[in-house]
Amino acid sequence: MSIYIDASTRLLVQGLTGAQGRFHGLRNRASGTNLVAGVTPGKGGTDVEGVPIFDSVAQAVAATGANTSMVFVPPAFAADGILEAAAEPGIDLIVAITEGIPAHDEARVFNYLKQTSRVALIGPNCPGVISPGKCNVGITPHEITLPGSVGVVSRSGTLTYQAIHELTQRGIGQSTCVGIGGDPVPGTSFVDVLQRFQADPETAAVVMIGEIGGSAEEEAARFIRDHLTKPVVGYIAGVTAPAGKKMGHAGAIISGSSGTAQAKQAALREAGVTVVDDPTLLGEAVAKLL
């Protein structure tokens, strides 16, 4: 049993008929994920390469027993898509890939879900979650992964791949890799994922990738210090990023000294994390700890 997803995952994709949803949904299926349905209002009754399309999440769940939804809906409708999936009791995990959702929509959705639902939301603006050899819900290229015992959690999509690649190159496999996304209000935080890695018997060590802005890494450092018994290797991107400049992610804004790469590295080191200053050194650092 890996965290979030495994062989029992029955995936539906909201937006499977769009170009991105189709490409990645079918890639997930090709890597062994049980893709059972797609949802696009108005296209119910059609299919994408044999995957049935429904007009609503409720219909898709009733017909296929889907328990996980991946959201590929455009930004203007993505918040509504997440709420639709959350309203269906059969769904217990939502992975929102969509980039560019308005911050107010995200804040409303996060707080509403927290108050009304037990569903887990990963993302938005994230690469999703992959348990190598078992299941892939997202856009992480499964070819670069290797089944194993290192958990990876990251705020940045492409840096997640970089970290996985460095591990795989050294023959170090991964239990589950979770991209939590770089937006200001992610559905799942570092702490949420670290908690699951700590409880997961298949995870022996953790790689954590952070970046400048916000205080999520500092919160993670406190959690690691107080609750994590497994070894952690960390990397923070943005050491040379100019202060006060916005670097693409709404999340990556330096806000006071607590948001700087240096402050985050220091907090992680104090919590006993091995911090590397070059992502290509992640594999070597993990190898030393295992």
Binding site: Q20, H24, P75, A76, I97, E99, G100, P102, A103, H104, D105, A107, R108, F110, N111, Y112, Q115, P127, I139, T140, P141, I144, S154, R155, S156, G157, T158, L159, Y161, Q162, H165, G182, P184, V185, I209, E211, I212, G214, S215, A216, E219, Y235, A237, G238, V239, T240, A241, P242, K245, K246, M247, G248, H249, A250, G251, A252, D277, D278, P279, T280
Partner: protein
């Protein structure tokens, strides 16, 4: 998007929040006629997207149009923390009885909005927060419910705002929060919010940051850009949907994903070089995007070599390689390109690179090796 004060005030006026009457002026002559139209004493205020303009001499009171002309002449062209003043806002002077501070923003740690209110407006609010934290009332707002009447009232009384006008101030807080939500603002800060001697509550300043992700709901916000004077290369990149920031070095950087690009800047610096820019092509970039990105860098004379660092997820390496091939076929690029491709369709992408008939392209197997090569080629 950070707005100028006058743009923020136009949004406030639209949302029914009282602001003083005023006019924008591009020249001292325009400032003089603005003062004449408004009549009486006016304030001439530098329009810059940075704080601290009062201390820098960017805000002056003028008792008549001639004085407004003189102040505008001094303020226009002035440099305030690296920002050149190109516009002034001339507004009717207010009769100030009390100055307050109000702001609404997202508290990322709490994942809720945060209201901050103080009776000590008009001064450095960070110093107030540091030295007398109790003078700054803070309250989290549940984004699902919004700022309730009791919360607005509690903020007003806790911050110690004037009691006889407490209801008006609380109503103002609710109106401001509604504007934050309706206009999709990341930040609204009013310093000072004033009480006039006749007991009216008026926004004397407006710092507004709009959420660019929400512009599909407010297409008219695009026109705010007309008042900006962006860097020409940054503007070219923006029009092509590329996330570009000019930096000081000589290694041009193109990558996918803000995290990987930031990390690339760090690794270039670790191996002894300096990045000329931050350029994120975003997720799912096709051949045209890559070709556009290379084109943008040709307009920066400080670039000596280019490092393309792609780890494909939603982005496909074959399309990236195609974009490089197209850019090279279309024009002579002035510098060597080091390319590192991994992830989705990397094998196909590397094959396309190998087929490019040019000594300008240097494929590289790892991020570190690519950074080293690019730094060496920039020397």
């Amino acid at each position: 998007m950070d707005l100028f004060e006058f743009q923020g005030k136009s949004l406030f006026a639209r949302a029914g929040i009282p602001v003083p009457a005023g006019r924008v002026a591009r020249t001292a002559e325009e400032a003089r006629s603005a003062a004449a139209e408004l009549g009486g004493v006016v304030v001439v205020k530098a329009q810059v997207q940075v704080g601290g303009r009062g201390k820098a001499g960017g805000i002056k009171v003028a008792k008549d149009p001639e004085e407004a002309f003189a102040h505008a002449s001094t303020i226009l062209g002035m440099d305030i923390k690296g920002h050149t003043v190109r516009l002034v806002w001339v507004e009717r002077a207010s009769d100030i009885a009390a100055e307050y501070y109000v702001s609404f923003t997202l508290d990322r740690a709490a994942r809720k909005h945060l209201a901050m209110v103080s009776a000590r407006g008009g001064m450095d609010i960070e110093a107030v927060a540091r030295e007398t934290p109790d003078a700054l009332a803070r309250m989290h707002i549940d984004p699902v419910i919004g700022l309730t009447a009791w919360q607005a009232s509690e903020l007003v009384y806790r911050a110690g705002l004037d009691r006889p006008t407490a209801r008006k101030s609380a109503a103002m807080l609710q109106a401001l929060y509604r504007a934050v939500v309706d206009l999709d603002c990341d930040l609204v800060e009013v310093n000072p919010l004033i009480k006039t001697s006749s007991g009216d509550i008026v926004a004397l300043d407006a710092k507004v940051t709009l959420d660019g992700n929400a512009f599909f709901r407010h297409p008219e916000f695009e026109s705010f850009r007309e008042a900006f004077t962006p860097d020409p290369i940054e503007e070219m990149a923006r029009q092509r949907d590329l996330n570009f920031i000019k930096l000081e070095g000589s290694v041009g950087i193109i990558g996918n994903g803000a995290g990987l690009v930031m990390s690339t800047l760090d690794v270039v610096s670790l191996v002894g070089g300096r990045a000329a820019n931050f350029l994120d092509v975003g997720g799912g970039a096709g051949a045209e995007t890559i070709s556009n990105a290379l084109d943008v860098l040709t307009h920066d004379p400080s670039v000596r070599s280019v490092l393309i660092n792609i780890f494909g997820g939603i982005t496909r390496c074959d399309l990236v390689a195609q974009g490089i091939a197209e850019a090279i076929a279309q024009r002579t690029l002035p510098w060597p390109i080091v390319v590192r491709l991994d992830g989705t369709n990397a094998t196909e992408g590397r094959a396309i690179l190998a087929g490019i008939q040019s000594d300008r392209v240097h494929p590289s197997a790892t991020m570190r090796a690519a950074a080293e090569r690019a730094v060496e080629l920039a020397r």
